[in-house]
Symmetry: C2
Subunit: 356 residues, 2 copies
């Protein structure tokens, strides 16, 4: 494991107080973590330094050819003052899956986790404590060769920044309305859909704006081949409870393998619910909504943890889900996952990692 | 049209001499063009300034969500000392097509063209003059909001940098070997394939490395839905001459609409050749290669202009093309297009634009 050099800021910023609004992704802490890659030295010289601008040549490859990878996880402060990360090993593993697809050199998972722990420890005073708040951790890699031409970069930066974030639902859990997109496509089998990389997100913007204009908060994507099978939401995986069975789209190469998805599958199984990872078509949902067997729908992701879905729209049809309120399993998953994250519910699976 | 402020460098770099090697995309000129966008002012304050690093917050959206667009064109010096651009209006138009798909604010084509002309004029001493050389012009836009979260950025930078480039084929036109990829997919209908944006290029790297390892210089992509129809090469469009007819894949939303492609279609038509823009399957090519009717194959793109293809490989099959040499139409297109670009062949269509 590499040694991290730490240089603390001499000019700390004011830390938001418990009553200050924390708009997601707008406030950043005092420090950042940076590690460089070159072919001769591999990943080297990791350092924590004051949060500061990055200076790159205008020809830096990341500006032109999209060679960039990111991750997202959260750090929580428990009532007894401990700091917990939730399954950072899964993010380290997914980062390397993305890296391989994007031809970015892999990062030793131990260095990845140690980096997250160390930067969170350095900026621990920034972890908010009000219910629902947390410190969002954003590791990312960018290609830095000053070169125009399509090939993998030789040099990279791996950076981690931190942002204190508020409750996703300040008023408590609230069902969202979701738009099933039938024209735009986010990703396709054989492409980069299962990698966490900018290209997948820029591809989603046009449909997202269209959905917002129609009064929907998120887009639910269909597969790129037949435009018939459910994939995932903009930044969440999706689950359906149909006739007592929990169903979620199988990881097929074009869906992001969510950490929260994996967590929910494990919990549902523990609770004795039948869980199926398989293809789910829009037609199946439509039929289930019609005959009343579509009992619950929820999204899963680091930002909101669990997002109950109140209704789905596909072309001119609206699929009503249960009674339109928060489903029982959605609520139980939310309470259990956030409970484990905050150290209030027993962590049977060893999912939490303490930062000392 | 916006007024461009010009600040010249006081510290010019040495300009490569005629015998210095010009490796594509590695050397940059003394100046760059930068224009900023914000919702209040729109695109504003264009300026030419000394070539210098860009400083961005680590949270700048371009590093995370891939909201970036680029273009590529060339400036040439004619024997009588004039400076010519080739169809910059097409790049301005395509930039805005990309911008719309990527939710980036459009740039007035007049400002785009004026920017290219002005920066080329400022750095005209950098335009190399040896046969086959030129000044590569790289306009690009990056999203700069310091924000984590998936939505279009509110602020952007539009930048132009210049790089003197050598002949693509220092030994003269030379047939290349191309790998038809059957596993990885670059883009799919409904996605961002027709936009010139980083996400499409990072998606291509894994297959490109695989092709190189097999001794092939470029990848030919198949459609993402059926993986059966030809799309385009890594950074070129593709043409086939089958039984006297020129055939090129129709623009279907997942292919980049190349300027050189458009140019070649116009010239072939002028020469009385039948031209078809339509779907072309691998099976059709295979059959044509077998019965000898696959007479020529060439790629078209700004970098190489025309790239004759000597053979194609699909899975375990090699398709032999003509006699494996440079086809007659490929050579004629190369001579005509480069002739027009250098002011040696009459420019009937008004494709060249002089920089004064
Ligand atoms: C496209 C997409 N799908 C799913 C998820 C959910 O993944 P996770 O549960 O790891 O946060 C995310 C991100 O957070 C995402 O960006
Ligand atoms: C993917 C792709 N296709 C085709 C082309 C050819 O386009 P043009 O002739 O405008 O250079 C390019 C770029 O140059 C490209 O990047």
């Amino acid at each position: 494991m590499l040694d991290i050099k730490i240089e603390k800021t001499t000019n700390p910023k004011p830390i938001p107080g418990p009553e200050d609004p924390l708009v997601f992704g707008t406030i950043f802490t005092d420090h950042m973590y940076v590690m460089e890659y070159c072919p001769e030295k591999g990943w080297h010289d990791p350092a924590i330094m004051p949060y500061q601008p990055i200076s790159l040549a205008p020809s830096a490859m990341v500006f032109h050819y999209g060679q960039e990878m990111f991750e997202g996880l959260k750090a929580y402060k428990t009532e007894d003052g401990r700091i917990l990360l939730f399954r950072p090993d899964k993010n380290a593993e997914r980062a390397n899956n993305s890296n391989r697809r994007l031809m970015i050199p892999e990062i030793d998972p131990e260095d990845f986790i140690n980096a997250v722990k160390t930067i969170v420890e350095v900026d621990q005073a920034w972890i908010p404590t009000k219910p629902g708040t947390s410190l969002y951790v954003r590791p990312f890699v960018i290609a830095t060769d000053p070169f125009l031409g399509v090939r993998p970069s030789n040099t990279y930066k791996f950076i981690i920044i931190l942002s204190p974030v508020g409750a996703y639902y300040p008023e408590g859990l609230n069902p969202v309305k979701i738009w099933i997109e039938d024209k735009y496509v986010r990703a396709v089998r054989g492409g980069i859909g299962e990698a966490k990389t900018g290209g997948n997100y820029v591809a989603s913007l046009a449909a997202q704006i269209k959905a917002h204009d129609e009064g929907y908060s998120q887009v639910l994507w269909l597969d790129g081949v037949e435009r018939k099978y459910i994939e995932e939401v903009g930044a969440m995986n999706i689950f359906f409870k149909i006739n007592g069975t929990v169903v979620t789209p199988v990881l097929n190469g074009s869906i992001l393998p969510g950490v929260t998805r994996d967590t929910c599958i494990a919990l549902c199984k523990e609770w004795g619910l039948p869980v199926e990872e398989r293809r789910v078509s829009v037609e199946e949902l439509e039929a289930a909504a019609k005959d009343g067997s579509l009992e619950e729908v929820w999204g899963t992701g680091t930002a909101a943890v669990i997002s109950p879905v109140g209704h789905l729209r596909y072309e001119d049809d609206v699929f009503q889900i249960g009674d339109g309120g928060i489903g029982q399993i959605s609520q139980k998953l939310y309470d259990t996952v956030t409970g484990i994250q905050l150290g209030k519910v027993e962590d049977k699976y060893g999912w939490t990692v303490e930062v000392k």
